[in-house]
Structure formats: structure tokens, C-alpha cells
Amino acid sequence: MTKHDQPLIFEITKPGRVAYSLPELDVPETDLTEAVPADYLRSQPAELPEVSELDLVRHYTALSKRNHGVDSGFYPLGSCTMKYNPKINEDIARLNGFSHIHPYQDEETVQGALELMYRLQQNLAAITGMDEVTLQPAAGAHGEWTGLMIIRAFHEANGDFQRTKVIVPDSAHGTNPASATVAGFEAITVKSNEKGLVDLEDLKRVVGEDTAALMLTNPNTLGLFEEEIVELAKIVHDAGGKLYYDGANMNAIMGVTRPGDMGFDVVHLNLHKTFTGPHGGGGPGSGPVGVKKDLVKFLPKPRIIKTEEGYRFDDDMPDSIGRVKPFYGNFGINVRAYTYIRTMGPEGLAQVSKDAVLNANYLFRRLAPYFDVPYDRHCKHEFVLSGRRQKKLGVRTLDIAKRLLDFGYHPPTVYFPLIVDEALMIEPTETESKETLDAFADAMIQIAKEAEESPEIVQEAPHATPVKRLDETEAARHPILRYVKA
């Protein structure tokens, strides 16, 4: 990774340089001062950069060299499923017939796009054991909110207006309680037990006539399978609530079990995790939502139907929660996900989950002797270690994470889930080889030794990155959120 600072693009600007080419205006000109009132014609141009095309290319190339992606090196970021992003996906998504089509074209002229979306929906329904899927939500959190709005519409259609609470485990992703709030519910926490699983007694205590739903990730954020899922589902369903599946950890269970078989009524998937849509530095994602039969009529509109004359959008959904996103979702990401599914097929997807779980357990066992293990049982696709032992030596989990940067690795997720002290949440994914896992384990073991023998090396890390630790307190206290010309 390059250590050279790269100036802001505004700082390499020089008036007179351009990096675009437009044809000469080939129509007779209208006098715009007559067409538009003077107040509405911009008097001061926006101060955008002025660079040549090569300046531009060098700028973004330099920035890319100061960034770490999956292609740069191992990225065991727990709960994020940083697997390989296939190159053919990028080629397919850029075909003119997918990238240059307008959402309002006549259905006759976009049959290929509709067919792709329909096929993807069918495949996702099969993978999750759901009856119907919508591709509209833009990302996981958007899917959560959509799913909760569907559950709310279901209860209200039954005259159940008192169901105002959504239960989330204390180990849940932060989006779960936030989505519940945005959907107008009150989020209630259910505790985890000493095994790291939902405490059924506590669940019985909080569940009731005001329960709209329980949101659950299974395997949960500790990487543990909620083995009492059948009893758990029964408790929620007996109380009249619905069961919501957060599909962030779907990579662990494909072909082994399906949310639909476990009793879940609604599920969202993160196509940018399990199904290889690239993470893009934070997005765009895609968060399709699948539902069981009794919830289908509440899905957002429009939905895609297959008729004898071809594929159609169906807007005639009087019970729908309405529209959650303009147009039909993040189609470009859905194209990539479908391309991936067709690369793997049913056997390949099942193998993905087996290998993801094998890789996680192998790395877990290699590291277990050197770190505290809060829950010592076989994990699924990820596992959580605790840096408590190192903390006693004055080395925090944050230090371990920063030291890993020196070895060329992206660190695991740290300080999450919240119920584990000094948590390190590690998800290797199935696309990593044993050699990569071994090399990472060796680095972690070396850091554990450094914590004992020369803690300052870890405490002062990173040493090899373009910048050292950044002052986040100052950034928040005196925010500088844009460039201002000196």
C-alpha cells in the first residue's frame, strides 16, 4: 500500500484543463435568458475540479493504492461475508442489454430483464424455503424495514393493532432494533443464555399479545446455531407473533436448512454478502425479502408475474404495503447475484456453506489456544474470540486489529457482538484456501506472543500503513466534512 499522500482532487486543479469531450452543439441556440428568469440561471459555477484525463486516472489510481479490498488480501470481517467477487459478474452486469435499459420502457422491450428477475426470485425462494420473493429492497436494513412493514400490515389486517413490539436478541445486528423503530415498533431485547443462544425463559417472559415479531439471525452473530429454533418458533407463533429471519448469515446454511423450514415467516437476504454482489466500499447492496403464503398479498408493489404472453409487472395489489423503492430494486446487483447462482447451481451453493463452516471451524481451532473463547462449541460460518487475556497485558482488541494491518490483513469485526468483552468476530468465507487461513493464524499467534513479550509493538500499531491511527475524537468535535478552498 502506497505511503505517498495523495492531494485532494481540488488541490491538483488547474483552470483550463478538462477530462471530457462533448460534441459541438448541433442545434440552433435558444437565448436562455429569455427561456429562464435571471434568478434561476446560476451566476457562480460550481467549483468542480479541472484536471486532464491522465491527472484524473492517476488520482483515482493513487487512491485505489491506499485502499484494501478482497482482491488485495484476506478480509475476515465477521458478519460481512467478504468472499471473492467473481469477475464474470462484472462483465455480465455491464452488457448493454442490462446496463442501458430504462425502467419505464414498455414491458415488451425488457422481457430479458423481467425474466432474469423472475428466475432470481424463484431461486431465492427455493434457497430460503419461502413462497414468494420481492427484489425491491436496496440493502439488508431496507429489507428489514420492508419485512417489518409487511408484518405490521398483516397484524392490522387482522385487527391486531396492539402488536406494537418487536423482540430482538441482545446479540442482534444494530440494524434490527433501528429498523423496528423506523417501522414504528418498539424494540424489546431478549437475553442470550450462557450458551450464547436466545434464552427461552426470557423469551417467554417478554413475548405476549403485544408481540408483532421476533427478529433472529440463525446462525446468530456469535456464529452459533440456535438449536432450539423449533421451540423458539412455537413460543412466538403461539403468542400470535411472526418470525423474521435476518439473512446476513445465510452463507452458513444453504442446502442444510432453510428459514422457511425453521418456521420463519419473513426473510431478507443480503445479495452483496452470500451472493457475491461486491460490497463496493459500503454499497450498493440488494436486500430481497421472501415471505410465506399468508403474507404474499402485503408485498411491496409491483411484483413480477409470468403470463402466457410473457413477463409482466402486476400493480393490482390492494393490500400491498406500497412502494419501498423507486423502480424495481438494485437490478444491477441482482444481475450479479443471479450470475453467481448460475455459476454454482444447487450443489455448488450447498458446497459453499459446507466449506464456509469448515474454514471457520478450522481457523477457530487453530486460534483457540491463544485467545479467550467465550463459547466453546462448533461454530457455523464465523466465530467470536475475546481479547480479555491480552487486555490484562495492556493490549486491547483494537490494538490487535491495528497490528493485523501490518501483516496485510483486514482485521475481523471488533467489539461486536456487544455481549462479548473485547470481541473479535472472524468470518473467513469459503473462497479462502487452507494456506491463507494458516498464514493468518500464524500472524494472529505472533500477535498474541507480542502481546506477552513486547506489547508496545501491538499498542503502537499499525506501523506499515499509509497513515497511522487517526484522531477520531477531533474529527467528531470539529467536523470538517468538505473541502473549502484556502
Binding site: L48, L63, L77, D106, G184, P346, H410
Partner: protein
Amino acid sequence: MSKFRYLPVTEEDRQAMLSTIGVESIEDLFKDVPEDVRFKGTLDVEKALSEQELYRFMSSLAAKNVNTKETPSFLGAGVYDHYIPSVVNHMLLRSEFYTAYTPYQPEISQGELQAIFEFQSMICELTGMDVANSSMYDGLTALAEAALLACGTTRNKKIIVSEAVHPEGRDVLRTYAKGQHLEVVEVPAVNGLTDLDQLKAVVDDESACVIVQYPNFFGQIEPLKDVEAAVRLSKKALFIVAANPLSLGLLTPPGAFGADIVVGDCQPLGIPAQFGGPHCGYFATTKKYMRKVPGRLVGQTVDEEGRRGFVLTLQAREQHIRREKATSNICSNQALNALASSIAMSALGKKGLQEIAHQNMQKAHYAANKLKEKGLSVVFAGPFFNEFVVNVNQPVREVNKKLLEKGFIGGFDLEMINPAYKHHMLIAVTEQRTKQEIDDFADALGGVVHD
């Protein structure tokens, strides 16, 4: 041997790894999955294809779609066909950007963080606002989030939105509002513009915000100065403007008219239409609301040695910290598309953005005049940017079928949003359309209308 090219674990690896774990088989790792919920058999998923077969099959699906690279399009309505410099795609394919996660580890994410800081700066420049975030899903969910911010900060529940705002934006807004028990009041449009008398009649101290679009859904340039005066009749309501960022190369930015929040979609700047998504919402506001902005913000700071660097900042607003107290649940955003827009804005630059906006406006005005010459009536008389409405005197759907036979993708059928706009077609003309194409389109549309 694995036959899946993304799966590196060999049989030999597998045995060695199982032995380290201390189990006999992979099955032993799934023993905690109860028998009752086990999936038996093979998933009903379509079969795997080789890379060559897959490319052929996907190309055949793509070929079933009429694309705007090959067929000139006059369709807009929120999604536009614009020039995308080649450099945009080449830089986007730098995998250090597209295969990275959210930059939570700033020491190895300076590239992404700096690019987003630059994006935020460019959006502030364009909109005339103080602060912009790192992106939202799209312009219309950004609009809904702006309304939620307004309701949160004013503690009012009444959202006023113009009928001249994108119909799908109003739909999405209603869905979001339902979740929070908020009221959405629509102000009708007259002559293609927000009815200011009606707006004045509904705006009051119980209002959380007033939302208009600029240029509006019909392509008309809303008189923001007059709208703002109406908004200020309320002591509390925020003034929210949804603006097409490309138009701001030429039009006075909403910030200059006192907007409190400006949102929109960066699709016109470097992002292909791709059937409606992913695009890239932007969200800009004043310093006053900086700490209430949804989504991620990048800020400038220094490292331990005093070197400039960038970090995600003011994270106390966000869901992963505030959980159920968060006012927005957004997590993933559209970072890669924000990067695409930054690259496009840098490529166009100060001059190019003005020139491209100018060409849009000129070509749209030329096209409107051509259509008038062909006997069509241009429906609304106010100033417009790159879109306008014509009456085609017959169902737009039928007209578009005939236009397609003549090799054109026609405009948007306004009857779909309101029966009052029967036979009204919304036509977009961008810099991509040549004079020849506009002339031919005018001939074709004139011919269809008079047949």
C-alpha cells in the same frame, strides 16, 4: 478436485482440517441443526453453467431487451441517458474500491474515504449547501429520509409534498410515513407547477416540511424563491428540495433559495440507467442539521504524526451505535456509485458540467420547437430544463409502440400517474441526442399523431 472455481478447499485439505478440528466429517459440524428442520435433497435451484455457457445464456437474456445504446431514447422521468466518460468505468473496476467493505479501518481505507470526502465536497458545491453525506440508496428514498429528519427535528407530523414531485417518490414517502404514523398532504400542481395558493393554504406551524422537486417531475423549473416564501409562513417547517444534480450546472442551486435540505439522485452523473438501480441518492443540508443527517459521513482529521487523513465521523447518529434510538436504519449505502459520480463530476469538471447542462437545455428547447412545428402542443408554458410535456391526442402507450417500430424509445406516459394527464407524454432530451435524431423523432411522432 473441486469443480467450482471459487472453492479452493481440496479433499486433502478437508481431511487435514477436519483432523485439526477433531471431527470425522463436515456433517459433525452441523449436528446442532435439529433433524426436524433439516433440508433433505437438492435445492430447487437452476443448474450450474460453465463460464462459456453462462456468458452465452446471460447475453441471450440481455439481447431480449431493447437498449438505449442502440435505440435512441426520449424517456426520462427521473432516469436519464447521459454521456459517461470512459474513465469512469475504468476507475470503478479498480478492485481495491469495489471489493472493499465500508471503510471502518481508516488506516487501510484512505483511498475510499478521501474519494467520498471529495464526493461530499462536490455535492455541497453543486447544491449550495454546507454538508453532504456519503450517499443514500437513491434520490427518492433520500427524499423520504429528509421528511423523517424534518418530522424528528420539528416534532411535527405533517409532511407537505407537491404533486409535481416524482410519483414514485410520493409513493415511497407514503410507505415510510405509514411506519411512523405521519401524515402526508399533497399540494396539487397547476399548469405543471406547484400550486402556490394551495400550498399557502395548507402550510402552518404544525407542518414538518414542504417538499418540491427542481426541475419538477414535468420538467418545469419550480420558482423556488416563491415556494420558500410560502414555506416560511410556517415557523417550523423545513424547506426540502429534490434536485437533479446535472441541472445545477446551469440552474441556481437550491441552497441559494434557502433550502434546508437538498436531496436527489446522482444517476445523471456517471451512472447507467440499469433498469432503475442501483443509482445513488445524495443528501445535503445546512450546518444546523449536520448532526441529524442519516447515513455515513466522512470527515478530515490527522493521524498521530500529524498527517492529514480521513475517517467516518459523527457515528453516534448511526444505527450500529444508537440501535433502537436511531432515527434512520440505513447501513449499506451506494458508495461505489458515489465514486462513479465523483469520477464523472471530476471528468466533466467546472466547465464540462456547465456545458453538458447547457446542451441539455438547448436540445430540449430545440426538440420542443420542432414538435410544435409538427403540430403538437407543448402543454406547460413555464421555463423547463431538459424535459417537457406534449399532448399526443391518443393513448401514449399506442404511440410508443409505433415509435418503437420506427426505431425510437418514446416518452413517459403521464396517464399512468393521473388520468387527468390522458394522452400526455413527458419527453426528455439529453446531450446524447443528435440534431438528426431529434429531427427524425419529431417527424416520426408528428407522423404518428396525424395518422
